[in-house]
Amino acid sequence: MTSGPGKTDVTEEPPAPDSDRALVERTVAGDQRAYELLVIKYQRRIQRLIGRMVRDVDLVEDIAQETFIRAYRALHQFRGDAQFYTWLYRIAVNTAKKALMDLKRDPTVSEAAWRTSDDEDETSRPGNEPTTDETPESLLAAKEIGAVVNAAMEALPPDLREAVILREIEGLSYEEIAVAMNCPIGTVRSRIFRAREAVSARIRPLLEKQGGKRW
């Protein structure tokens, strides 16, 4: 496995610092913008998670905001025993549950705002209908981005496509990809970067059209 031109140097590389943990440490040290990088990374996953419990899109966003604020306030308690996303996931679930309990106690809020236990089974939800506040435009934009990503991936050279699939979908580390593709880690890093640049060059205009350029 390690012979030949694609000899890997796995054992020589020092362990790379966990970027999530480093961003947490930087946030605790006082850099709020470091925390925003974590938010950008996980906001869609957290909102999707909450969306499985709550139907109203605005409510999903409010609960997601509350989740990230609670996490921010509790960051000093994050010991790093588990992955940051695992820790954030639990906060999101607890925050959503609490919000649901508060909603159910509020007689002015309709049941349409939250999902019932029947809705939790996706098979009972006919045709995966859109939630109450998703607009046709946002659905179309999401489909467009999905289509552009897929098309851009198809257009990639095979080695770049393979490297980014192994990383993004299979979740392999650079070391593991280097072994799988029989190439140095530096080559893996370069291929993944070039693949991302090629795809993001095509989706970035869509992202900017949807949400603007300013962060």
């Binding site: 790379a16 610092p17 970027s19 999530d20 480093a22 961003l23 930087r26 006082g30 850099d31 709020q32 913008r33 470091a34 925003e36 990088l37 938010v39 950008i40 990374k41 906001q43 869609r44 996953r45 999707r48 966003e61 997601a64 905001q65 990230f68 604020i69 921010y72 306030r73 946002s138 659905l139 934009a141 999401a142 489909k143 981005i145 999905g146 990503v149 991936m153 980014v164 699939i165 990383r167 993004e168 979908i169 580390s173 650079y174 890093r189 993944i192 970067f193 991302r196 640049e197 993001s200 989706i203 970035r204 992202l207 900017e208 949807q210 949400g211 603007g212 350029k213 300013r214 962060w215």
Partner: protein, 223 residues
């Protein structure tokens, strides 16, 4: 362009947790502050999310979400810092802790309106100062007067109901306890009051002659 590619490649490696340790701090610092870096970071993660699940392709609210959260976090930091500053003062008496670099001294923003208001009133300070002094002097005189009247005697108890009755003239003016009562400095208004007391000296609250009740004065030491 090469330098940009180098930095963007480090953003890509940062997204995978695969950045060289010696480049970590610099890359994070750039990613946190650069619009280009933030946009690249966002695009890379959208791509990864979409590859994993098309449910994650809706990015239309991403920026607004982050901007809204940023505002709330800034307010949270300001509130936390103000509370900590107040708590520090109440515990230590002084602000012994240096403030963290990232935090803006928002307590100043609370104090600033008070300071500004004081500055606005500075032009009238001279007039107001004398008025305050006159009012304070009047209040002090009334307080002393009331104290003296209260210690004269019990035959005017209806007017002196709120003052404690000692039955003996108080050694008013004696600054040091245990010393002989000294002569009190005369106050014309006090003299008038004492004269009024003498007029009513025989009419006590008992509504009957009570010779044993004396008119206490300050001219003689009490017996």
């Amino acid at each position: 362009m090469h330098d940009d590619d180098g930095r963007l490649e480090r953003i890509s490696a940062l997204a995978d947790g695969q950045l060289d340790p010696d480049q970590f701090e610099q890359t994070i610092a750039w990613a946190a502050t650069s619009q280009e870096a933030c946009g690249t970071w966002h695009a890379y993660h959208v791509m990864g999310d979409v590859l994993r699940s098309t449910d994650l392709a809706d990015c239309s609210r991403d920026r607004d979400f982050v901007l809204r959260l940023r505002e709330r976090l800034t307010q949270l930091d300001a509130t936390t810092m103000a509370v900590e500053a107040i708590a520090a003062r109440s515990v230590d008496g002084v602000d012994a802790r240096p403030e963290p670099a990232r935090r803006v001294p928002m307590v100043a923003a609370v104090v600033a309106p008070v300071v500004a208001d004081t500055a606005l009133r500075g032009a009238n300070d001279a007039v107001l100062r004398w008025k305050w002094l006159a009012a304070a002097a009047s209040l002090m005189a009334v307080t002393v007067l009331g104290w003296h009247v209260g210690s004269v005697g019990t035959d005017t108890s209806a007017r002196l109901a709120s003052a404690p009755s000692t039955g003996a003239p108080a050694t008013v003016g004696a600054a040091v306890p245990g010393t002989e009562p000294s002569v009190m400095l005369r106050d014309p208004r006090l003299d008038e009051l004492l004269a009024a007391h003498r007029q009513f000296g025989s009419a006590s609250a008992l509504q009957m002659p009570a010779g044993f009740l004396r008119n206490a004065t300050f001219e003689q030491p009490g017996r």
